[in-house]
Each structure stands twice: as C-alpha cells, then as structure tokens.
C-alpha cells in the first residue's frame, strides 16, 4: 500500500509564501528568487508589481496576486491601495509573456563532459531552469544579463557564453 501523508494545506502554503516574500522585500538579496519588479508610475503615484518565482506553481494567478497584495500591505503599508497590478509568474510563464527577453545561451557543442556539466551547474547557480528547450537562463534587462554573464565568465572561463535577445514578432498593426 502506498504511504500517503497529509499534504500542506493551501492556507499554510500561502502563509509560507507570504513570509518568504516579506523577508525578500525587507532584505532583498542580490540573486536568487523571488525576483520582484516594482514599477512606480510617477504621474499617478501607483505601482505595478511583478514577482517572478517558481514557488508559485501550486497557486492560480489570482491567489498569487492576493499573496503579493497582502504581503505589500504588511511590509509597505504606505503603498496599500496604490498597487494597480500585482502579478505572480513562474519563470516559464514570464518568458511566455515576454517579460524576460534576454537569454544567456551556452555554447557547449564540442565541449567535453566535465566542462558541459560545469557550465550547466554554473547556469543553475544563476537561476537557470530546465524547460522544454533545455536549460534556460533569462533576464528582463540587458544589464541583468551582463552582470550574470560576468559571473559566469569567472565561474567557467572560456568562449562558452553568449547573450541573446528574443525579438518580439513583427507586429501587423
């Protein structure tokens, strides 16, 4: 007979995500997840917040949004009621919505196995994930990509790294 343990309840899961997000907002780290993009619109003093985090997986978008709003209310009460858009996305979802157009693409053809492994480990250390198109490492801005590129060059020196930009489809407007 299989062993079935009680799963974590949605409420406690939500609370755990809220606590982790709050700690990131209070004391942001230089790398790792969650990644919080907070855009203030100066003219209206409103905010758009997008949180990219793979731990969102078990929650639908609306529940993620609630977690972000509740956490902001707790950490930044002065922003309560000023957040127009609060969106939580996993990395593949953020890519699919065009939020992470810059990619670091490893050039590993011809590289020997120990080097290949080192390259993949270094990418995962920078936040890469295994998606449908292999190991993907994505960024929102060219600056973020270049900073990561520099760290990867230190971790695995050599002609292994390139930065690519995904171009939007040509609009037929």
């Amino acid at each position: 007979m299989p062993l079935i343990r009680n799963g974590t309840t949605k409420a406690s899961q939500t609370l755990a995500l809220q606590q982790e997000l709050a700690s990131e907002l209070r004391d942001p780290r230089s790398a790792g997840e969650p990644t919080v993009y907070e855009n203030r619109i100066a003219q209206t003093d409103r905010f758009h917040v997008v949180v990219i985090w793979d731990k969102w997986a078990s929650l639908p978008l609306q529940a993620r949004s609630r977690v972000i709003l509740d956490t902001y209310e707790d950490v930044f009460p002065e922003k309560t009621g000023k957040i127009t858009i609060a969106m939580g996305l996993r990395k593949p979802e953020a890519v699919s919505m065009g939020f992470l157009p810059y990619a670091i693409v490893p050039v590993i053809q011809g590289a020997e196995e120990p080097i290949r492994q080192k390259i993949l480990d270094a990418m995962r250390g920078e936040g890469a994930w295994d998606g449908g198109h292999g190991t993907e490492l994505r960024f929102r801005t060219i600056d973020e990509a270049e900073q990561s590129f520099a760290r990867l060059q230190v971790a695995v020196p050599g002609p292994f790294w390139t930065i690519a930009q995904e171009l939007a489809t040509i609009p037929e407007l």
């Binding site: 203030r40 997008v50 639908p60 978008l61 969106m87 919505m97 065009g98 929102r140 939007a168 489809t169």
Partner: protein, 164 residues
C-alpha cells in the same frame, strides 16, 4: 454594390464590443458541440476585443471614433510610460489588459479597488493558455483548459460593462 466583406464596418470601440459579444456567442455554440479548440480560439478573441476596446475607452477615444492602425501602434508604444514591463504584441491579451487598467488610472473615474488587478490576472490566466496561432493547430485541448478559458470569457462578458 457591396464592398468586399473585409472592408465593411469600422474599427471602433462600439464595433469591438459588438464583435466581442458575437465571437463569444459563436464560441459558446462551438463549446456546446464539443468543438473545443475552435471554442477556445473564439473565447480568446472575444476577450481580446473587449480589453482593447476598454483600453481605447480609457485612453479617451469616443465610442464611434475610428481606431486606426497608427492608434493601435501608438497604444502599444506607451507601455513603459504606463509602467508595463514589456511592450504588448498585437494579440497579447494580458498586455492589452494591463494597458487598459494602467490607462484607467489617469481617468477621472477609476476602477473600484482591485477590479483592475482582477482584469489583468484573469486576462493573464487566459493568455498563458491562448495564442492566436491556435488557428493553425489540430491539437485537442484538455478539459481543464477549456473550462478555464470558458470561465474567464464568461467573467469578462459578465463584467464587460464595468470596464467602460
């Protein structure tokens, strides 16, 4: 003599809203006959037209004013001014919903607290499943995908008036 079908009518807020209702009804009929991929395709277009109409309304267009290609291009290009993270593509329902909600903040009468965010999260949920390229596919959608798209489209049709 009639103009060719594709040249008849105008792109206006009124026309977009009427077309949204029309495609929604078409989608429901397809859904009832288990033509699920076609239904999803049209449910998505119905929501797309509604959020685009809402954007132009919130940007100050009159209901009967013709929306030109240049207007659509200009709308997509103000994405960073309105605080979006990425420029919306032509059929980017999530992006156009974000534009609509962000533009509303500049209007005299704002959406009720939380309503704009709900528009964006629902449109984004739809856009994680839907793309206009579905028209080229012969794949069979999962039951939960059909149910989710249907319920999102239902919500938009039910709440459409509140967006204007």
């Amino acid at each position: 003599m009639f103009l060719p079908l594709h040249q008849r009518g105008f792109d206006t807020i009124e026309e977009f809203r009427a077309a949204a209702m029309g495609r929604y009804e078409d989608a429901r009929r397809l859904h009832r006959r288990s033509r699920d991929l076609g239904a999803i395709y049209l449910f998505g277009y119905a929501v797309e037209m509604l959020v685009k109409a809402a954007y132009f309304h919130n940007a100050g267009f009159l209901r009967a004013r013709t929306i030109s290609k240049a207007d659509r291009k200009a709308a997509a290009q103000i994405w960073s001014t309105l605080g979006l993270l990425a420029e919306p593509g032509q059929h980017d329902i999530a992006g156009w919903a974000s534009l609509a909600v962000a533009a509303r903040v500049t209007c005299a009468i704002e959406y009720p607290l939380g309503f704009g965010n709900e528009i964006v999260t629902r449109a984004s949920s739809l856009y994680l499943i839907w793309r206009e390229t579905l028209r080229y596919r012969a794949t069979q959608p999962l039951g939960r995908e059909v149910r989710e798209i249907r319920s999102i489209a239902d919500w938009f049709m039910l709440n459409g008036d509140r967006m204007f």
